[in-house]
Symmetry: D2
């Protein structure tokens, strides 16, 4: 079945394996008339590409994107936009060690159980490189949303239990540390802990927080395609995510109605706003005009250098030593992936929302 | 757009409002040959219907389901199964109090922002009664999954911070207390706290845990339609859910790779199993043969009897006093909704998985 | 799989069998704010219900529709609209004659081959009564399209080779004869031929022509979801359709480019129009502003009273005599079904078209 | 919206413009384990590429396909298969003549009406080169279907009114003439007529017939996703198609039930077959075991060299002379496109059919 397609109106299909010829995405449903060039996409890919710090894999990839269709004279045409990143450094590896061994925490075993065999080179389709397609497509969604004043901003909230503090929160720090932590002090501590983990051939997980600003009330479909439901699907579809919460999240489960209810207030401009935002910007699955806020929990990188017991394809016990240097943490590189998936979700629901009212149709197509 | 449709192969469309003529669901894609009668569905609806305890609304509804199509001589035919529950107690209410007022924590404002107006009677489509369609459809999915030895069991894990203990865990307690808490002691404490909240005209939230047993490895699609991603969408689409975690969830974000990786072991039957289950039964978005385990956080019921400040449709400040008695907690009645949504998700992905291998197609349709 | 769902944005799911409890449709995605009552739908159902003339089955069905959801205070709410028609005259029949016999020209054999068994009562899901769901849903689409000045009008063009003539074409005749033939003379001839066929226990086929007026240029998606492609799917999904052509259709295959090309001309209002309409109102899969014109060929009713050789479920040869009186022609009752399917197609593509341009989104949602 | 996606289970997204960087397709849902190499696809692309005869455009394109993903060690992995053909001869043309002029019979005007502007180079997305993506994807579907003994064979039935005769029908002739007409005599006459048309700067249309052999009974979904309905959508989505008929098609509309009904007979192997095939292999939207037979009508190429009156973007009358040499007929090159679209349709419905019966699921996944 077709599990590599996301969205209904702003629809993306991604393809590619870690050690195949490349990775790509095709977007169908992007409205015509959006200014777009490769650089718009490249700067997002640069944020996830390897080699940005000593905490990422040493694989050498430029991850240059090429737009193959759907853009004419600098603007989208309304037709499918094909994006492609060729793999450059995929040929030289030796996979004899993992070819018939199931790495713990990886998808090797479940892929074999599903398909009968798998592309074992670097994890194949289950590699983190798969997110290149998401980021490339998401970059276009982000550009589209900006036309409506919608900004999506994610950052590392926590690594290995070391959390940013509201007190030291500083957006500018995002540029200064490659952990994408907006807190200088927490970032320094996290780096130290990561160094220690690498020494112990171990790895860490963490949390990413994401804020969607500027989204007006009314986006999201009641019942199954709620804004929160589609965001949850989008975020949980990222490889290592094990948890997600919106607004107060799990804390809301321990709260009381009198506290958790956000009071509606009259706005100065005649509008309506919420005095608090325990709900995280979504009521009944529909945006309520407050910022949408959510957090995602990422598990520690399963690829660790220490010796692990496991089994091979025949079900025999074996010892595994994963060669090469791997990211001891995937959270920093996942920040842009979270932004991309949030953007794809919101862009899709924004388009879905166009048909919500008869009066809107009449505005576009005129009356009989 | 069509936000009331769930699933790709086992597909459900639900309809209905709190105070309209009824609530229903149509299932398209249920395989032919499944034994099915109304009683199979009714016993799930009975678990969510009002009036089971003093902690639920006093609305009088029998919630009797009728199967209108798709079943012949006691078996599903492969054609759409229409299910319908007529509303009985919907006529007498007085909504002048909330007609043009936005209740905090409810979808009133966001619905108006989206559609320009709304069916304000009892929350209309955003009412908890909407879940009748989910439970009715889910009951069929549960019956289908049992044919493959797949059992889905949810229970109340926590109410207002009072959590069940592993020590006192007792499935039989589920039948004894109407909070669906498998721990006699915790249930008693939770009941006391709920009584207190009702006295204070306040409400509580809580957590539901769900276990999917018997699911073989291989179900779930890589990339966007991962088993965890689709479960997350399903669960977050339930009205009051604000958080979800799979396996170790948020705790995994503070764990280390060496601990969080589940070791594969040789099984006695020549199979493969995981020594631990930090992953919650899913690797790379595909079931790994261990039980699938997840938890969902529910916010406190927004309908509270105490006086609340809010605004009306014109954006003017007003005082709101919600009349009538409402559930001071929705968690117990949501347990069966969680089971239903989990079942719909798994049934859909099980069907999607049929086409994963050429050899499976050949088994069914023969070779050329 | 889910073959009972039609459309992407204006989405319909139908259900029901000939001799089950009823027939229905649920529409998800109808914009909020459309005035709608049961009578709007009933008058379309009345055009297809049995008993309108001596050329239709004698089954007694009032086919009264009930709107169960999605309409509040006389207007659609944007939420699913459930429509239901209960079967009234379904109990008394005797099906022992066809229970295990495959009627020629019917779906009995192919249903059994697919599902392993079938609801044999009156054809079950493959009965002509299945079109009730289409007509009911289509009536809402027709109402929606009228808001934009789009009118859909179908009529019987030919019965048993007797064709209406352009010369005698008279819309008013549609009301006068129950064959829905806009030509008094042709209708009289066709009636005489039908009488003769009934005497011979035989049946006839025919052609329906449909014109969609008032559709502006720009509706339809390039490549796979072309307006003509989606119309073709919609029309060929009606039980007895064996052919369809758009504009000049098969005649175009024998034409020349210099003749078949429609010349563009300057309109008086500054617009553009086509001097001719060989294309039938569609260029490149997108409406071109001229009327959309298509024709569909219907096979003769397979239920004939004469003795037929066939086989039973065991593959043994047997003689079949279909009891009761059946429609000797289905074309007249299918006219409104063609209108309904055309309307569902156009409404869906009209909604899809809302997201085609960035400037349209900005018109609705404002700029950043 | 996403009009460049086809299929539900065997799903294809195509992309690319006539004079962009290339054309491609991504297939999601192809079962794992199918042997596949580029040559399997190339030989189908070679059948549609330009320059095969003097009746096709002189554009120089090798149309070499590259498989970028989804194949490992010579077999499909179950993950998306990305196919790409780079445009080679796209740079040198001069489009000043058609940049702001609407060519009659082309999609120029309707594209502008829809999107506000268009990629005018060689027709952009509406170019015949768009079918490269269909043929490449279809080649994989054809390979898959062959595993089940399903063969799809299309041929030119008629050009400019010159039809093949049953008497002279000869499959081998398909290889001998580049019109793909299996009748030597008719092919010679058609070639002469085409020469004449080219002399007159005019063009011709024609008909293609397609036969699907080896498809067992049971494939196709009742109601909207009928085999005939989905085939019709597939075929009408090919640029120049204006009509289609299945089995006896339009002739059935003039037939009688007693003749048109195909009698079921006992087969020698205990099976069941139809003595005739007026139905064209489909009953109730489901394959009936007889060959599926359909015909499609193609309009004459709209690009003709003679001077044509038309309008420009401003709506002003102008004269158009289309430069360069164009195909005076597109039918021969469309034969392989028809096969591809038929294969995509059948492959998708074959996969959809896997979930039709509970007993089939049990065969694959075992009982509980």
């Amino acid at each position: 079945m077709s599990g590599s397609v996301f969205g209904k109106c702003f629809q993306v299909m991604t393809w590619g394996e870690s050690h195949g010829k490349g990775i790509g995405a095709v977007i169908d449903g992007c409205p015509a008339g959006l200014e777009l060039c490769e650089e718009d996409i490249q700067r997002f890919l640069d944020r996830r590409k390897p080699g940005q710090s000593r905490f990422t894999t040493q694989r050498k990839e430029e991850d240059r994107v090429e737009i193959l269709s759907g853009v004419f004279e600098g603007r989208t045409t309304g037709c499918p936009i094909a994006l492609e990143v060729r793999n450059m450094d995929q040929r030289s590896r030796d996979y004899s060690g993992i070819k018939d061994v199931y790495r713990p925490g990886h998808a090797d075993y479940s892929f074999d159980a599903k398909y009968g065999f798998r592309d074992y080179r670097g994890g194949g389709r289950s590699s983190g490189r798969e997110t290149i397609g998401r980021v490339a497509a998401g970059a276009i969604a982000i550009k589209l949303l900006r036309e409506f004043g919608i900004e999506i901003k994610a950052y590392t909230k926590e690594i290995g239990g070391i959390s940013i503090s509201q007190e030291h929160f500083d957006w500018k720090e995002m540029e200064n540390n490659r952990l994408y932590m907006p807190d200088k002090k927490a970032a320094a501590e996290a780096e130290a802990l990561l160094e220690k983990m690498m020494g112990q051939k171990d790895s860490l997980g963490g949390e990413i927080e994401c804020v969607i600003d500027g989204l007006k009330a009314g986006v999201g479909e009641p019942v199954f395609d709620k804004l929160d439901a589609n965001l949850a699907k989008a975020i949980f579809s990222i490889g290592a995510v094990k948890g997600m919460e919106i607004g107060d999240g799990f804390a809301a489960a321990r709260s009381r109605g009198s506290f958790n209810n956000d009071r509606f207030c009259p706005g100065e401009d005649g509008g309506i706003f919420k005095a608090t935002n325990h709900a995280g910007g979504i009521l009944g699955g529909i945006s309520d005009g407050s910022p949408v806020v959510f957090r995602a929990a990422f598990k520690p990188t399963p690829s660790i250098a220490s010796l692990q017991k496991t089994v091979n394809q025949k079900g025999e016990e074996t010892l595994l030593e994963i060669k090469g240097r791997h990211d001891p943490i995937i959270v920093p590189r996942a920040v842009v992936v979270v932004e991309a998936m949030a953007a794809l979700t919101v862009a899709d629901l924004l388009l879905q929302n166009m048909g919500a009212r008869l009066e809107h149709l009449k505005l576009l197509f005129g009356e009989g």
